[in-house]
């Protein structure tokens, strides 16, 4: 069972719809025991970094997420991906979950609108199992204003938005997608499927 972590921030239902469509057992949950009994965890998120961290703290799940992510795969999506880093700089500095080295900063592309909204192509970097059924150049759907600033060794794929934006990151058991796999058509579904079959 995949536990989709419900901490009050996010597009939980589109993630659930995608998992249901793939026939993958899943549960939207805010309970620590579900996170413990799950095979894998998904951390969604839409909104701002500090609010989301506050809500995660309020949920009381941070300790469980940290303990479980040492044993089983965790996938953060969009803001959920950004929370995986050490720090976020959206409305001041906020401490993140610290699974992956680096921080999250406002994008500063020249002559391009913020947020980035739309389909951008993946540029493969480090080999990653989540991309096993994808091709370099496949398009995925992004909606974001902030981006990770992190070592290249943790980046499975970048996208080009006037700057190199980490699109898919990983470190050990922990994976993060800046794009929305649940809104990225067949490519996104393949990435979710690859995560669920880790």
């Amino acid at each position: 069972m995949i536990a989709v972590i419900d901490y009050g921030a996010g597009n939980l239902f589109s993630v659930k719809n995608a998992l249901d469509f793939l026939g993958i057992e899943n549960k939207i949950t805010a309970k620590a025991e579900d996170l413990k009994s799950a095979d894998k965890l998904i951390l969604p998120g839409v909104g701002a970094f500090p609010d989301a961290m506050k809500m995660l703290e309020k949920s009381g799940l941070i300790g469980t997420i940290k303990a479980e992510a040492a044993k089983k795969p965790l996938l953060g999506i969009c803001l959920g991906m950004q929370l995986l880093f050490q720090k976020g700089y959206e409305f001041g500095e906020t401490e993140g979950l610290g699974f992956i080295e680096g921080s999250v900063k406002l994008m500063t592309p020249e002559n391009l609108p913020i947020p980035q909204i739309g389909w951008n192509s993946l540029e493969f970097n480090e080999p990653c199992r989540l991309l096993q059924n994808c091709k370099n150049g496949d398009y995925v759907y992004f909606v974001h204003s902030y981006a990770a600033d992190c070592p290249s060794k943790n980046v499975a794929a970048y996208c080009d938005y006037g700057m190199k934006v980490p699109a898919l990151v990983f470190s050990g058991n922990v994976y993060g997608a800046q794009f929305h796999p649940e809104k990225s058509g067949d490519v996104g579904l393949e990435i979710l499927k690859s995560f669920c079959s880790l």
Binding site: S14, N17, G185
Partner: protein, 251 residues
Amino acid sequence: MLAKRIIPCLDVRNGKVVKGVNFEGVKDVGDPVELAVEYNRQGADEIVFYDITASYEGRGVMLDVVRNTAKQVFVPLCVGGGISSVEDFRDTLRAGADKVSVNSQAVKNPKLISDAAEIFGSQCVVVGIDAKRNGKGGYSVFINGGRVDMNLDLGDWVKEISERGAGEICLNSIDTDGVRGGFDIEMLNFVCERVKIPVIASGGCGKLEHFSEVFEKTNSSAALAASLFHFKELTIGEVKRHLAEHNISAR
């Protein structure tokens, strides 16, 4: 690099997709969920449902369409038509829409744009505009499906929309809509020069070449079409291949 998007638009009345050559000649062309699934299969980058039902009951039916589509189609869904409040935004997003489009109500109550952007984020606020040449070298904004002239200058309106935090503009030219002679390049350039947010071209597309033309001659981010796709004159796949042949980045 961001791909240029191809967006099919489905006009939905009482849960059925309809397409009218004119307002009297509206005919059913099918089930919206099935059509959305088919467009998704063809490679649509986004799907727009436009609710042309005027009744309260119709809204519920529309939300069911969105809910059922969101279970089978995994590309962004945008819903417009009759959205007049923050509550309408919330209901529509909760049903599974990723974006909500407002048109006449935004002209009547521009604060709706800023309120929705603040609560739900700019990325989900699309402002639709129906505009027409005013005979004095400029363009005027119309509402109620292009029937009522608001004496509102298009340049002023797009600036306000953008300042209020809209995420995108969908520009429909009344001058070219239904004529099938191509998108309104002039009007699109007029708007693209004035805002940084993405502009979706709508109205006037009649053949394959019009898609490459709009991306070669304007900075539009997306092109929207309805009848061409409904009546199977073109598939979205054909449009994508055409764009690729013209070295226009497409998914």
